[in-house]
Each structure stands twice: as structure tokens, then as C-alpha cells.
Point group: C2
Chain length 501, copies 2
């Protein structure tokens, strides 16, 4: 067999196994009976170890052999370089360290859940200290040029580094703070009484209708309910999302459904073949987040979308709303800018201040500039400085996110990078199809999806995020499109409010 055929077969097997791990995790959240947790952890551990071993022992040698094969075409060679870069990163991690991190994270997650429940940071502190310690070892094993945090950030987003993220936030921060200040000083009246409560069964049905109309293929997907909404891509023909329904507010479940649907449209839009090669999987967490944020915010919080909803969907569910509210009122309600303590409940502007403070704190923790002991005070100080809020307890402060308890340092920035990319993609989309929002208003959401399929989905992981961004938008990733997007929104929804860039 040629080197190409052997790689084809091994990469295919690897992709199938990775899809299996995804399914096991999905089942754990959606179906698994409570007592199954220990057996499931062992099974996922076995498969994850197997997938890791296969990279190091089987795939990496093949890639190294292929790298120097002159018979391969340039396109294949380019994909092999991407695969090599990823596989060599995995090779650098000693199996003992991976196991130690996995075990520590497993214990830490339990401790975190309890600590958050009791708002007791001290009981979580030793676990976090251990995870920071092991993550610093991980950074050392991976290697870096400037600072340990760089190595961890690159695990989640290859084509960036802490200095770039810092520069982006430096440009963004004053704008975010000023926008929040101005919007709070100029509240839109008439939103207090808006109530969008809807029965759970109606919400389920409405969400199915809306995501189907926007292009999510339920023949290749399904919608369930879970505590924390998520999307699971097992393969392009089996991409599942979950929602969480709050009967007193339709916009909660709808917003998160559109977010997860954004992830799902990406996964459903990936090429099927050649399975396991970069172009059949997503490019990165940031690119994934650009898709979810695009559908959640640029579509789902737009006046066009709410006009469509108002005219075509809501009449079947709550005709009374048509008399009480206008599409503009509903859109304004969804877009209220109001800083809060909890990241996942925050509006799309103050959201980035939440990410910024986490980025700064985790960077300091990993680089050795902040001790875990001093973390809660540092957290509270930054919340005060960026959001103007006083943190009443650690449950609503430093203990609110699961990420650090999983040892996921370097993950948070991908949320902001993804949002910024979404805004940049949306600007290019508008250049290609100036009237996409008009069409959306009429219930046709096909133009945005078509654009994303063509500029993002079809390439899968063939290009790194930065290269993909340039290819799709003609420019490197920048916070400017996001700033312009928020300025337009403020003018539209905050009664002509002008926000300086």
C-alpha cells in the first residue's frame, strides 16, 4: 500500500474513534443513568489513551515518512504539515503527565462543583494549585518562546499567542467599558414589562421550527435538553445539539439553541471525505465559536430575524405578543446591555470584559505572576474595575466557570477571538450579499449559511484560523469589525446612541 493509502486508512480510523469519544460524552450528559459515571470515565479513558497512542505510535511515523515523499501533491503536503504540527504537539506530552492531569482534573471538577455550591473557594484551592502546577509542567513539555501560557493557549488556538490576544484586548477594552457605560446611562424605555414566557413544549416546537428553517438538518441531527447546552459532532451526518428551557423567558433557550446550531451548521457543513484529513474537521475552537456567535448574535439578535419570527413563527405560538410588542421592541429586549456578575448570562459587549479578566488572571497564574491564594481578591478587583460590580461571594465570582477545574487554561480567549471573527465574517458576508438581512426578514436564512459554507465550512481545518480569516475576509483578524457592529447596533437599538471607537 502506498504511504497515502496507509495514511488514509489510519486517519479514517482515528476520526471514527474520535467520533466515538464524542458520542460517549454526549450520552453521559443526555442519557446515562447517574450510577454510570465511573464506568463511563474508565471507558472514555481507555479510548482517549488509545487515540493518543495511535497518534504517537502509528500516525506520526507515517506522517514523517510522508513528509519527505516527493510523489505527493502540494495540497496533500500542506495537509500533512498541519497534521504533523498537531501530532508532534501530542507527542511532546508525556503519558504520565497526561494521566496525572486527567486524574487531578477529575477530582478537581467534583471539588469545584461542591465548592461552588457552598461558595467556598478554600476547599477548591488545593485542587486548583495542583492543576496550575501540572499545567506549568505541561507548558514546559510543550515548549514556548516567550512565556509558559503561550504553550497552553496554542493548544486551543494554534495561530495566536498571548501578545496578540493582549493587543486585541488593549484596543477593545476602552470601547467595551465606554459602551457599557453609555448604554447604562441611556436605557431604552418600555422593556421592563416585556414578558416572553412560553410553555416548555411550545418552546421545543418553536426551536425545532426555527433551527430547521435556518438550515440545521434534523435528518442528520437531534435536539435534546441538558443542564448546559452544547453541540456534539460525531460525524457530519450525526451532529447533535442540546438546549435548556426556561419557561419564563423564550429568549434564553432560543439564544442558546441558535448558538449551538451555529456550531452544528459548521459540523454538518464539513466535507465528509477524505475522513480524518484536516479538511474534514473544524479549524479551531475560535473558528467554531465564530460560527456559534454569528448565528446567536448576528442572526439571532438582529431586527431582521425578530421581524421574521414576529411575522412567520410567533403567531402560531403566542398571537397575543403581536398586539403587545413590535419586532423592534423584541430586538431591543434581546440586545439589552447590562453588565452582570455571570459570564454566561452577559450581553455581547460586557461578555468580552468577562473574558478579558479571565485571560489576564489565568495568564498570570500560569506564568507564575499570581498565586492561587490571591486569585479571588484579584478576580473581585477586576470585576470592579471592568464591570463596575461588587462580587458578593465566590460562587458568583471566581468559582462560576468549570474551565479551570478541568485544567483548561488558555481556553477562554477563544471565546472572544471567535466573537471578533464572527463580526469580521459578517462584514464580508454583507459585502457579498448586501440584502441578506432583508431576505432573513422574509424567513429565508440561506444566504448567510451559503456564505459560511463557501468561505469557512468547506475548508474544515485545511487552514489555521488566521489564514482562514484572511482568506475569507481579505484581512487579518481585527477587533474593528466588532466595534463597528456594536456601534451600528447601538445606533439602531439605543435610539441613535453614538459610541466613539
Amino acid at each position: 500500500m502506498s504511504i497515502k493509502s496507509r495514511l488514509d486508512a489510519e486517519l479514517r480510523t482515528q476520526a471514527l474513534l474520535a467520533g466515538g469519544v464524542e458520542l460517549l460524552a454526549w450520552d453521559q450528559e443526555v442519557c446515562m443513568p447517574p450510577a454510570g459515571v465511573q464506568g463511563r470515565a474508565s471507558l472514555i479513558g481507555v479510548l482517549a489513551t488509545l487515540v493518543h497512542q495511535r497518534v504517537v505510535e502509528t500516525i506520526l511515523p507515517l506522517l514523517r515518512e510522508a513528509e519527505s515523499d516527493p510523489n505527493l501533491d502540494p495540497e496533500t503536503q500542506a495537509e500533512i504539515r498541519i497534521l504533523l504540527e498537531d501530532a508532534e504537539m501530542i507527542e511532546k506530552l508525556p503519558a504520565d503527565l497526561v494521566r496525572a492531569l486527567s486524574e487531578a482534573a477529575s477530582l478537581a471538577q467534583q471539588a469545584w462543583a461542591q465548592a461552588r455550591h457552598q461558595s467556598d473557594f478554600d476547599s477548591f484551592r488545593p485542587h486548583l494549585e495542583k492543576l496550575v502546577h501540572l499545567s506549568r509542567e505541561k507548558a514546559a513539555a510543550l515548549g514556548y518562546t516567550q512565556e509558559p501560557y503561550e504553550a497552553l493557549l496554542r493548544l486551543y488556538e494554534r495561530s495566536t499567542n498571548p501578545q496578540q490576544v493582549e493587543a486585541i484586548f488593549a484596543e477593545l477594552r476602552p470601547f467595551l467599558i465606554e459602551t457599557v457605560r453609555l448604554c447604562q446611562a441611556n436605557p431604552v424605555s418600555g422593556l421592563e414589562g416585556v414578558s416572553l414566557s412560553l410553555s416548555a413544549s411550545d418552546q421545543r416546537s418553536l426551536i425545532r421550527e426555527v433551527v430547521s428553517r435556518l438550515g440545521y438538518d434534523l435528518n442528520r441531527g437531534r435536539i435534546d435538553e441538558s443542564n448546559h447546552p452544547f453541540c456534539t459532532g460525531i460525524n457530519p451526518d450525526d451532529v447533535r445539539i442540546t438546549v435548556r428551557i426556561y419557561e419564563d423567558d423564550l429568549t434564553m433557550a432560543l439564544g442558546s439553541a441558535l448558538h449551538e446550531m451555529g456550531h452544528a451548521l459548521y459540523e454538518q457543513g464539513l466535507p465528509r471525505e477524505p475522513l480524518g484529513w484536516p479538511r474534514t474537521h473544524s479549524a479551531s475552537l475560535s473558528v467554531h465559536e465564530s460560527q456559534s456567535r454569528f448565528w446567536e448574535n448576528h442572526i439571532g439578535a438582529s431586527l431582521g430575524f425578530w421581524t421574521f419570527l414576529y411575522q412567520k413563527v410567533l403567531p402560531a405560538y403566542q398571537p397575543a405578543w403581536l398586539d403587545e410588542y413590535s419586532p423592534l421592541t423584541l430586538t431591543r429586549r434581546v440586545n439589552r446591555i447590562q453588565p452582570g456578575l455571570i459570564r454566561i448570562q452577559s450581553d455581547e459587549v460586557s461578555y468580552h470584559l468577562h473574558i478579558l479578566l479571565r485571560f489576564e488572571l489565568e495568564r498570570a497564574l500560569i506564568n507564575g505572576d499570581l498565586s492561587v491564594r490571591d486569585l479571588p481578591a484579584a478576580w473581585n478587583e477586576k470585576v470592579k474595575a471592568y464591570l463596575g460590580l461588587t462580587v458578593p461571594n465566590d460562587a458568583q465570582g471566581v468559582l462560576q466557570d468549570i474551565h479551570w477545574s478541568m485544567g483548561s487554561f488558555g481556553y477562554f480567549p477563544t471565546y472572544s477571538l471567535g466573537s471578533l471573527l464572527a463580526a469580521q465574517l459578517a462584514e464580508s458576508l454583507t459585502q457579498t450579499y448586501p440584502d441578506w438581512e432583508d431576505q432573513l426578514r422574509e424567513g429565508d436564512g440561506s444566504l448567510p449559511l451559503h456564505w459560511m459554507r463557501e468561505h469557512i465550512h468547506q475548508y474544515g481545518g485545511r487552514y489555521r484560523m488566521q489564514e482562514l480569516c484572511e482568506k475569507a475576509t481579505g484581512a487579518p483578524l481585527s477587533p474593528k469589525p466588532f466595534i463597528r457592529y456594536i456601534q451600528r447596533k447601538a445606533a439602531q437599538l439605543y435610539e441613535g446612541l453614538a459610541i466613539p471607537a
Copy 2:
């Protein structure tokens, strides 16, 4: 590491992976979106190949090393002999043949579904011919002493052979035919008008209540709905069942729920450790079926159970039934003996005639005594001879079961062996706890479960079926307890009807 520790680790991994395959199959039936079928087949194929490879390349050499290790205790040596016997059987199957069979079965199942739909045996015939041909190759690879069919039967039930099965049926057949004849000649009056229709949501709730009360732990299980009810044991802490609900007849879903619950109680009752060793998995298909049949028939079709249901459960669902029917009437309804064309709808007596004819036909096919071309006529002839019925078309005849389209020749006899074992276990249970049915009448089903836990479940696959039967009941497997059980039932439910053995 000692040979024992290495075996412990490899067998554990193997059991976890096997549980993963079970979950993938469960998800395919219960959750997977329609388009996922191709990707799922590939994934299951990858994992099944891996599991197979690990047996041959990793586990078998360890077992052979351990077999001659004088430091191992006799109990461990006994389990190693069981593992060796199974692993050597797997080793005998050439990978090419396994793949050819799997591919042929995959195509045959599609062809079978269509052929059954159109009642067109001829379109299925070439597929069945191919499967018979490959199965004969399989039998040759496995080896046998008397006839090719022996090798296939042993794949599903190690501790039997075609001659034993034939002898059992020889004893059983006249009794079955005579029972069916007598019961039809002496029908119980007053059952025609009995209607047990109940809404799907009430049936779901009633089934949850009943199986919980009988000992199925929903903290370690779950109940879903699927076209064909089944039970999936992923590990003892995650054992799932499915039901299919027919709103016009509660007894359909309830009976199959109790059947699947019987399988599930066995899986939930298996020892957790040492994972992967014989005692942590079930003994065989026949033993499994003894458990499902025991709870479906000996419990679920007993007057004690229906008295309990009548007094403690039905009042909350259909109080009207209490005035209209008596527990005896309901029990009689469930136990109607009435031969029909379809195996899975048949009563517990004529069921074995269905199995007998399949056993005889598949044995003849595999041994070369019957051609596939002559199969439909042979089928129809036997249905006439054993059940007194005329087959109107192949859909209701030779095409009704999925088994042969999966290449599962030798599977059917385990259904009858399991039923006979259930009756034999029930007799021993009654010797130990003469008043178990009285207690069941009061809603306490703990004695049968306790007995099964002690005599069957705790041993897992430590003993083969025949040995386990002797250990649990003091005698080899025999059709006599089943005959006595049916005689008692006829006397109780068919107004004193006496059936000669």
C-alpha cells in the same frame, strides 16, 4: 507486572471496549439521526475489529502464558480455561471470513427488510445463499465433531450440541402439540371482551412503577422506546431497556418490559470486579434468556403478579377495570394459548414449536440437507404440521425473523433452552421459597430476585450453562419442569384442564 496483573488490565480494557460497542448499538436504535447509519456502521466496525485483534494478539498469548503458571490459584485457573476456550474459538476465525460475513450480512439485512416488506423471498434468496455458504466455511474453520451446525450452535451456547437440542425437542414436541390442541378445544369463555387499552403516557408510568418494584434499579438503568424491545448492558451500573407501546393493549408493552427487565436484572446483578473476567459477564444467551423468560412468564403471567397489579397498581390508572375484571380473568387473558403465524406474538407453549421448526430448518441448511431454494416450502410444511396453520405469504412465514439475514444460524435454540431453564430454576426457587408467589401477590417481588442473584447472577460466566443449571437446580437441563409448569397453569387457568406429559 505479574501475569495476573497484566491479564487484569487487558481484560478490563477489553470489557470496557465491549461496553462501548454495546452503547453505540443502543444509540443507533434509540437516538441516532437517520443519516448517521453509515458512519455508525464504520465506527462499530472499527471497534469490533479492534476488540477482535486484541483477543488474538494481546489476550490469547497472555492466557496461554497464564495457563501453565503454577502460581495461580485453582479458581483463577478455572476462569482462565473458560477465557481460553472462548479466545481460541475467536482465533480460529480468519479475519477475511469475518469481514466477508459482516459485509454479506449488512447487505442481506437491507435486502431482507425489503423482501419482507414486499413478501418476496426470491429477492432475498441469493443473499441467504451467500450467508449459508459463508457460514458453512465458518463452521469448517471452527471445527466440529458430528456436523457443521454443531460449530455454529456452540458459538451461541457452548455447553450443548445439536443432538442434545434434538433430544430435548423430541421429548417436548408431542406435549406442545397436544397442549395447543387441548387448549384450543377447551377455550376459556369471557375473555373476548377484555380490553386493556391505556394511554401511552400511563403505560410508560405504570411500567416504570412495576419494574422498579420488581427490583430494576433506574439509578443504574433507563427505559426508552424502540421498534423492537431490547436490553443493553454497558456495565452493571448502566443497563438499559426499551419497550414498544401499543395503546390498545397494555399487556403487550408490559410483557416485553418484564422480559427485557429480566435481562436487565441479570446484567445489574453481575459482579463488578474483577472486570473482564468470566464472572463479570453473563454465562450465555440461554442463561440470559432464562432470566428474561422467568420474569416475563413465571412472574409476569402469574396469578400472583396480576393480583398484585390489580390491587396495588391498576387502581391509580384504570379503576374501571377493577369492577369489570377479576385478577383471574386478567391472568387468563395473558395466558391464552392460541397458535399464530408470528413467533414473537406467540404464547409460551406454541413459541417452542416456532423454535423447533427454525432449529430443524437451519440445521438442514447448514448441514447441506436443504437448499435455500426449497426453504419456503419446507417452512410452510412444518408450520402446517406443528401449528396447524397455513402460511398465506412469506412475510408471515420464512421472512418474519431477522436472524438469518444477520448470519445468525444457531441462535434460535437458545430461546427454547432459556425457557426450559427458566422453568427449572422456578421449580428450585419454589423449593427454597414455597411462598414466593404469595409475597408477590402482596407486591413484594424480592424473593425471586434474591434467589436468582444467589444462584445465577453472582456467578456471571464462571460456569457454562449446563454446569450452572446443575449447580442451581441439582439436575441437568430437562424439559420436564417446563412440562409440569404448563400442566399446572392449564389446571389453574383452563378450568382444571389436564394435559398428559
